[in-house]
Assembly symmetry: C2
Homo-oligomer: 441 residues x 2
């Protein structure tokens, strides 16, 4: 047996949705994988919490001693698919320190400990791949780090969380309230029992941090990402959005901002936004994900596909595993962390956006002009206003709703305006404040 054919030993940590699919593909596609890598992959063991003989894999492969599995001499690559950040971090650091390459789908970890892990990989001259951490099966990390390596990325905007996109799509399709759409999503398995990480935007923020880091060659962590969830989006917002020719989507946005003195900063943010129907992200529905990348030379690119699920996520993991294995066989390494640009992170107040503000107001003359004046005072120019009478349960008029859409202004000026509106006597409540995406006026 020539040196080239020496098998590559693999440890898979986790046998859940993703791990079980990865183990299946390693077994079923063994011959193809060996041909593509130049050496066979050999599965040395699978790390789990519960070792038992009812798990669809030979029980001898299972172990709950993650440290021992990772430390084995015959393990060349560790594939981490457990989830919880603490044990994952420990296992990955141990693997890298032992000179093993690592493939992970762990966005929470990658958005938090990226520097530490990248340094460990660097010190060991080992690979650290994480394509599956953002947008499941959709190649996004590799296009950004490699295909666009010679271009200048200006902006990344994506629907990167399937659970919230499922909920928002249901609200748009059926007029359902947030609570009932969430309940349906939970029943159907699209939302977890504790949906906080998804609906509050933490998952999307982790992905935004990863995308911003690689797009702008700057270390961005989840804590740097401005974040609003979808829990306050109402059926009435969808009605107003429809009237404005828009849909509402939870977006992860990463942007390169250049000021008058040519100084650059980076913004990373997650919030529900009104997206015009003609924008390519407006029609990405259900559990699908899509990422739009704008680069100086390439223009606008879009990547679309399944952003989650065991098999799609396993596809991305397997791509990374084959790359890491090829590097072991042929020599060479995958891309490393690039943070040379070290751009400062701009606070949300500086970001120019457009706003949509919905408020209930007293139903009497002059209200609209009082409301408009608050925008004018702060140099926020109004693009569109809609005023509708509201009726109570008995069909009696009981006030009016005003919806204002602004032109582009800084987030700070817009939030000040909203605060002032809330203080006005004629404004009963400010129902919703959402930003607009994809229009530049």
């Amino acid at each position: 047996m020539s040196d080239r054919e020496k098998p590559i030993g693999v440890a898979v940590l986790g046998l859940g949705n993703v791990g079980s699919e990865v183990v299946r593909i390693i077994g079923e596609s063994a011959a193809d994988l060996a041909a593509r890598i130049g050496a066979p992959l050999e599965l040395r063991g699978i790390g789990v919490r519960r070792v038992a003989d009812d798990r669809g894999v030979p029980v001898e492969l299972l172990t709950d001693d993650i440290a021992a599995l990772v430390a084995r001499d015959d393990v060349d690559i560790v594939v981490e698919l457990m989830g919880p950040v603490k044990p994952a971090r420990k296992a990955i650091l141990a693997a890298l320190e032992g000179g093993k390459s690592v493939v992970t789908a762990n966005k929470a970890l990658m958005a938090q400990s990226t520097g530490e892990l990248a340094q460990a990989a660097e010190a060991a001259r080992a690979d650290l791949y994480f394509e599956a951490a953002v947008a499941g099966a959709i190649p996004v990390i590799r296009p950004l780090t490699q295909s666009l390596a010679g271009d200048t990325v200006l902006r990344v905007a994506g629907i990167v969380n399937g659970t919230t996109n499922y909920i928002l799509s249901a609200m748009n399709d059926s007029g359902a309230s947030y609570d009932s759409a969430l309940a349906d999503a939970t029943d159907l398995g699209y939302a977890e029992a504790d949906p906080t990480a998804d609906v509050e935007g933490y998952d999307a923020a982790a992905k935004a941090a990863i995308l911003a880091s690689i797009a702008f060659h700057t270390r961005v962590t989840a804590d740097d990402v401005y974040r609003e969830g979808i829990t306050k989006v109402t059926a009435a917002d969808f009605e107003s959005a429809r009237a404005l020719g828009c849909n509402i989507k939870l977006l992860a946005i990463c942007e390169r901002l250049t000021n008058d003195e040519d100084k650059q900063r980076v913004s990373a943010r997650v919030y529900p936004a009104l997206v015009p129907n003609e924008h390519p992200l407006a029609s990405v529905n259900g559990a699908f994900n899509a990422v739009v990348v704008e680069a100086e030379a390439a223009g606008r690119l879009m990547f679309y596909g399944q952003g989650a699920g065991g098999a799609p996520t396993a596809s991305a993991v397997m791509g990374d595993l084959v790359m890491a294995a090829r590097n072991r066989v042929q020599g060479g390494r995958g891309p490393r962390e690039s943070k040379y640009a070290k751009l400062p992170i701009a606070p949300i107040g500086f970001i120019p956006t457009r706003y949509y503000v919905s408020m209930n107001v007293a139903d009497r003359p002059g209200v609209l002009s009082t409301v408009s004046a608050e925008f004018g005072k702060r140099d926020v120019s109004i693009a569109e206003v809609r005023q509708e009478g509201m009726v109570d349960g008995e069909g009696q008029r009981c006030g009016a709703r005003i919806v204002v859409v602004t032109h582009r202004a800084t987030d700070a000026a817009l939030s000040e305006t909203v605060e002032a509106l809330a203080d006005l006597d004629v404004v009963q409540t400010v129902n919703s404040v959402l930003r607009l995406e994809g229009t530049t006026e």
Copy 2:
């Protein structure tokens, strides 16, 4: 100066649409590129036919002696952006034989001499990158060779030629004839003076060959690709397509076919097809390109963006150049040709498709049943029939048009049926025969 910072010498062959953008980016983004690569890129020379001082670059950089430029000791990477196959092949072979890495956008060459070039790269242990050869700025080659390296690609279907998509989009939007849409496209610079390579599908066929090769790990050349152009598509076809809820697009399709005995074959083909409006490719308009990839684990992915133009294509070239340069600095190599699967290529006759047939018939009773019988005789089942009376210049009835849409049958059975139809007395002419995409009935 440490070894790491030794500059990487680059020769760019061609200073046309793409070459001039590549030269511009190498100059303008020098600092960023050096940081990403770990060493500066240095432009050693630019190969052209016409050396002159009015070309926007220092004339000392220009040379018409391609062989001498490629042979220079201080050139590490050759970027081929000339176009004509013969000189490009010669220059690339010389570069590879000299141990230099090569980046090219030359689809015609890559669809023809891929084996020879891959062998030369292999022998020299040098890189051969060609992302820009398919779909311009859109990352397609890298996702297929790397991101999906651990998955099984089942099908690739794409709009990969901007000129024909521009013409077909114009025909769809305005009801224009093919000739007038082509004339407009030529005036606006979307079509070349001699549009043959585009409108007859040669360009798309070259891209289909490249896509099929990498998707199925099998060497496929342009000659293996079944090819029909768009010159026979009529305004009446667009009318019928609209009535059927479809658009018409020139598609490049690469498919893995598995027969009852589990034997696999590969199909690569280019033809204008009816695409249902709800299919993601139906709304890709103008000069845009899009590629839909279906893989076993990943499911359906779509990649969308600008498929041509100097700057977008340069973006893809620059990504490859940075990768090739990084490999020089860090050691290691990019992906090599993978043809281990060596799947046989299926002739078009074996391919199951759906057909759309439009014919002019005598306007008398019984014609529809005569026509239908020809389909039935060959076991081709009919999904939908439309019959319309036709009127002449004076508003007199002058015959009828029958449009038949079939269920899935082999291409052989369908073409036999069409031949038989043409021989029928009641059929005056068979106007159009197009295939249907994206429906499985």
